[in-house]
């Protein structure tokens, strides 16, 4: 099955061939590298920008105002924090000119910990992003969702923040993307040849061209539709990205050990998020854990929790909880530090146990 990097690449290819994408750009996004995580390899509209995040967002906005359809990349979510003023402008443009200009741009950036990224390659961005009005925000956990959300992002006339998790970028999917060929074939078709050094890579890619799968479609994952990853009856876990998988592991363990039945909701779109699915699940289970890895103060999960309280307060059987990253200035490099900073399976198990043990 395709990895998330391959899925994004295919969606971008579909976008430039069929949906009017004019520019895929950012630091190291064009040849020879095609993105430090390979998500833009072989794309015909991909180009390398200067090392300058502010210029990237500004130019993307300008391109969008001029009727182009840009997809820009900030190389790491960790390096998007010098552009918050610009992201606010992007988000307010359509509103402040009372709808005169459309802003059909996609900003993609990779987020989260899990690759021993240390202080500057482990940041989450969803909490700050969600605080900025005017954007739609997605964060897929699987290759097929990445594909379908990218197609939706490109088609949408509004700015879309396409976040994707560092820890899952090379993980293969469990579900085939429509038109996706067999794994080995796909690799041969669209993965650029590589080499031990940049010189070798440049050399190997001089004449290389990808062979794109012919059967790709405009398969969309609609915005604001969460995915019930597994059904359950005792407690709802509202999460996304890497923690979907950790929640699954925790749930399997709890099923086995405690006989607890966990329902896992993968939000996929963080804003505007799927209230209906979340609230219905909580109405059913009466208990909820919101789970992510961003730092805990003004955490996006606190927003979800507040909405849950607003809508389901009297239906909850137990105190709802947030399990988030530690309240520290960064994720330390040593594995011990990273594990202590980011919720792990055992922490999830403990929280779920705690919630299920509460008797009002």
């Amino acid at each position: 099955m395709a990895t998330m990097a391959q899925a994004i690449r295919m969606a971008l290819h579909y976008g430039e061939e069929n949906l009017g994408v004019t520019d895929v750009f950012g630091e190291d996004v064009g040849p020879p590298l095609g993105g430090v995580f390979t998500a833009s390899q072989g794309l015909k509209t991909a180009w390398n920008s200067p090392l300058d995040e502010r210029g990237i967002i500004g130019t993307a906005l300008g391109l969008a105002l001029a009727g182009q359809r840009p997809v820009c990349e900030i190389q790491f979510g960790d390096y998007i924090f010098n552009t918050i003023d610009l992201l606010k402008i992007v988000g307010n443009t359509h509103w402040s000119c009372i709808g005169q200009f459309e802003v059909p741009l996609v900003c993609m950036t990779i987020v989260g910990a899990g690759i021993h990224g240390s202080i500057y390659h482990s940041h989450s961005f969803e909490s700050v992003a969600a605080h900025i009005p005017g954007w739609k925000i997605v964060l897929p956990s699987t290759p097929i969702d990445a594909y379908g959300l990218m197609i939706s992002a490109i088609k949408d006339p509004n700015p879309v923040m396409f976040l994707y998790p560092k820890a899952l970028i090379r993980v293969k999917g469990e579900q085939r993307i429509p038109g996706e060929p067999d794994e080995k074939i796909l690799k041969r078709m669209i993965d650029a040849p590589t080499g031990p050094t940049l010189a070798h890579i440049e050399q190997a890619r001089v004449d290389w061209k990808p062979e794109w799968p012919s059967g790709l479609t405009d398969y969309q994952v609609p915005f604001s539709k969460a995915n019930i990853v597994q059904e359950g009856t005792d407690i709802t876990v509202v999460t996304y990205a890497r923690h979907v998988f950790m929640a699954r592991q925790a749930a399997a363990q709890l099923k086995e050990s405690d006989g607890v039945s966990v329902e896992i909701v993968d939000l996929r779109t963080l804003y505007p998020w799927d209230r209906e699915t979340v609230m219905n699940s909580i109405r059913k289970t009466g208990r909820v854990l919101v789970l992510n890895e961003d730092t805990p103060v003004c955490n996006f999960g606190e927003h979800i929790l507040r909405e849950i309280i607003t809508e389901c307060f009297y239906e909850l059987h137990a105190r709802p909880r947030l399990l988030a990253g530690a309240d520290v200035p960064g994720v330390g490099l040593h594995e011990i530090l990273e594990l202590a900073s980011i919720p792990q399976v055992q922490n999830i198990v403990d929280e779920i146990r705690g919630i299920c043990a509460e008797e009002p």
Partner: protein, 321 residues
Amino acid sequence: MKKDVKLKIFDLMVTARCLEERMIKMSKSADGHFWLGGPGEEAFNVPLGMLSRPGRGVEYDYFHFHYRNAATMLAMGMDPRDELRQANNRATDPFSGGRNFVNHFARVEWNVCPVTSTIQTQWLIAPGTARAQKRHGGEGITIVTCGDAGTAEGDFHIGLNWATQPGWDLPLLFIVTNNRYGISTSYDQVHGAGNIAEMARGYGMEFGIVDGTDVEASYSKLEEVMDFVRKERRPYLLEASVSRLYGHSSSSGANRVPEDSETDPLEEWVKKLIKAKLLTRKDYQAKYEAETQRMNEYLKEVKQEPAPTPESIYDHIYKDA
């Protein structure tokens, strides 16, 4: 410059001045909350508008304005009532529906991109529209303006850098209107060496300086450099010295600066036209009074128009997919 062009510029300068003065008065009454604008920049801003090519799409010019470009908009054909609608925060304000400060234009039919108050960010956005134009071909260019103090932001340089990427010189006219102040901080306090325009050197970019209080100098320099950018499809950095006749904004009083402390470009132009026998002082006074009167009447009219509704705050957050 032909006679009718000279007089057209005169007319537009007077209109611009009277419109701004009308708005200044509004900011001191219940009719407006705030004013900042361009009295003192008309000799430059009117020619800029006259020589530009407004329209919709990459064939036409794109504009990323600073907040002192009313005269440019008038020269492009703006109905002064539209500006008054914004100054009076009417729902009919075509730029922002009563949401934004005055002189914060946005007009998609003319490629006037939304003006933001955040100093210098427009220099990051301009390379985007210019890149689309470069790819498209034709003669459409992107025009971006800013003040002198704002050039201290790193964004000033980012704009220049993106406009000179190898193989991607952009059809982008960068304009700095240097009034030698950022609010209360004088240029000499915060600007080290040389002129601002000379920063273009580091990018191998053409540049120039013009007396922006002089109509003829401004007109001919703009003619020259706009032609250069249109035809050569390469960027240019132009610095224009201008005046700030009513101070920074209504927050700093919006009172007329002391006589002779700054050049009044309108007065200078009037003197030249009188000398050239194209105008009499009386004509000028009559025109000035008539325009003042017209603005008063426009305001009366505009004030009758509906205010925005509370619910409207939620309009246009997203464009429907």
